[in-house]
Assembly symmetry: C2
Homo-oligomer: 338 residues x 2
DNA sequence: TGCAATTACGAAAACCTTTTAGTGGAAAAC
DNA sequence: GTTTTCCACTAAAAGGTTTTCGTAATTGCA
């Protein structure tokens, strides 16, 4: 009784396998009566089509993949939550892969996925230096629908879901300056990610707008390694050119920063004003409450997934270069008071 | 040149498909020379076996599933990270499914997965009332390897990875009391999860040990809904029987509690001592720093995945009722000072 | 030399669906 | 009354592997 298949179903119904298949596929070739018989017996035996056989024959399936740098990060976990809310509703199965900012891993992953296991991809790229040729190549080889979000390869023609990084960084930086910062610093990822570039642009524009002259050391590059970040920040804050304002573009950096300030007894916001890009639920509960730019992570996930499934099902021929821009939310809290 | 398959490979090599298949599978039936030829051509064309065909034939694949209640929770995302670190290394693909504490969803999911899509499961159960019959049934129907972690169905004979909840709750509660609490409260999930029961047992034992008499209202049940939790907690803290100590067994509750105390100006630790079970990286940075019991989440993921893959590959006949117990870590911070 | 065992490979079945190309019969069209 | 269309269904191929069984040639042993 367990694991019944179409053949057994057909036999018991006195029908051919093809009829059963078509009936279950709700084909117009099959009479209403037969359909009903088939569906009822299928239900009785809890028949479930074998996805391997089905995918093999149809050359595609209802499986997609998420590729992200990290899952232990509120932004990404919220995105995954958003994606899953859509794929679950539409009965897609969702693979998850973590690159941990490793380009090697990302490449290996894409190559692996050329085996045809999935029918579409949602990606936030790792911060590699070598550009995005591997994505283009993957696409050439597979022609699979791909949607990028947040960390998107700006030069490639793929649909993207992003947030207004330039604007919000500009605004936030200006508010840092208005709160009294003479020497704001931008905490950046190491690599030339589009997201990051946009934010730096916004940062620089605000600096210029305020009449402060920009120097390269106003952008501090951090890594994926919390300990390393801690030591970098520590050095920075015991140096003479101690910054008085920080725009932390990554959740981890904001956390490390708070840690350093606590240990070095740097008083926020008196000695240092801070704003962080993060979706941390505890931001308001930190000491002092952290001002944040939070990204619409859950919705980004939903949008990305919706777009991808549309592309897979070709219901709408989503333009290959659709760009959806969602709004970030700026929340000023004590960490930025003058 | 794209998507080459075994048949084409065989043709070009002047061999039969079966020989190619065996060569790639490193069968002893094939001579070293032939193997080398096959492997080289396969590499040249970047041949990748079609997983659907392969899985169909072998009746199993290298795909597993994770079923968890929530991903926006440091504990679970760390576990996923741990799992992924193993499955990635062993070239397994990992599906992720979120139940959001819905028993319906959990059941539907299991039923869906009876289609044979996966070869094994790692599960942390949702907090349903109806027991765990659906897991047993799933197992009967599929005979698939399953490993449970943290929230495990205590009555079922499956391998489990848990942490020493009883002990650490006992210890932590005792410390609450030693710090001066007369009326500690346990924040619990709504349902009779094993994890939760263990913790409550530990809590009660400590209470008894301290000579305090236990009453039912010392266990407060919260839900998955943050707003609802907030209102419950708010009510509790404006009531006359305001607690002076809290053991928050779930991350979300600790956050809501801090929020409520902040809004109601309840001073922690003066008026209220708090300890939370959480893996929040920001615990030390909260105001005041939150004492925590953190679970070895990443390692739990690794252990669970390692166990599961062993079962799948039948290298070791992992006893169906293996239980791996890892140690939680208690960190006392300001929120619990007397 | 004769016989068994081994080696290295191939043919074909099996895995379970979906899809294509029919087919027989009834209804519609002329 | 014959041809055409349509309906409801079937047979068979196709999808790409893996595995079972078979076989021809070689090796081992007496």
């Amino acid at each position: 009784m367990k694991g019944i298949n179409m053949i057994q179903l057909a036999k018991e119904l006195g029908l051919s396998v093809s009829t059963v298949s078509k009936a279950l596929g709700d084909s117009h070739e099959i009479s209403a009566i037969t359909k009903k018989r088939v569906i009822e017996l299928a239900k009785k035996y809890k028949y479930k089509p074998n996805p391997f056989a089905s995918n093999l024959r149809k050359k595609k399936g209802k499986q997609i993949a998420i590729i992200i740098p990290d899952i232990v990060n509120n932004f990404f976990s919220l995105v995954v939550d958003g994606i899953e809310s859509i794929t679950m509703a539409k009965n897609y199965d969702t693979f998850i892969y973590l690159t941990h900012e490793s380009l090697e891993r990302e490449k290996a992953l894409l190559e692996h996925l050329e085996n045809g296991l999935i029918s579409g991809l949602i990606i936030s790229v790792s911060s590699g230096k070598e550009g995005y040729g591997h994505f283009q190549e993957f696409y050439e080889n597979t022609k699979l629908p791909m949607v990028f979000f947040d960390r998107v390869p700006d030069l490639l023609q793929f649909p993207k879901v992003i947030s207004n990084n330039y604007d919000c960084t500009f605004d936030a930086t200006l508010r840092l300056i208005k709160a009294g910062c003479k020497r704001p610093i931008f905490f950046s990822t190491t690599e030339p990610l589009f997201t990051n570039m946009e934010r730096i642009r916004g940062f620089q524009a605000a600096i210029a707008h305020a009449g402060i002259s920009f120097t390269d050391d106003m952008v501090v590059k951090c890594s994926d390694d919390m300990d390393y970040n801690y030591s970098i920040l520590r050095k920075l804050f015991i140096s003479k050119k101690r910054p008085d304002g920080v725009f932390a573009s990554i959740e981890k950096f904001a956390i490390s920063l708070y840690q350093v300030c606590k240990d070095l007894k740097v008083n926020i916001p008196r000695d240092l004003k801070v704003i962080g890009m993060t979706n941390l639920r505890t931001a308001a509960l930190l000491s002092p409450p952290l001002s944040t730019i939070s990204q619409p992570a859950f919705n980004m996930g939903k949008e990305a997934a919706t777009l991808l499934l549309k592309m897979i099902e070709k219901k709408s021929y989503a333009a290959a270069n659709d760009i959806i821009v969602l709004k970030n939310e700026l929340t000023i809290r004590e960490s930025m008071q003058s």
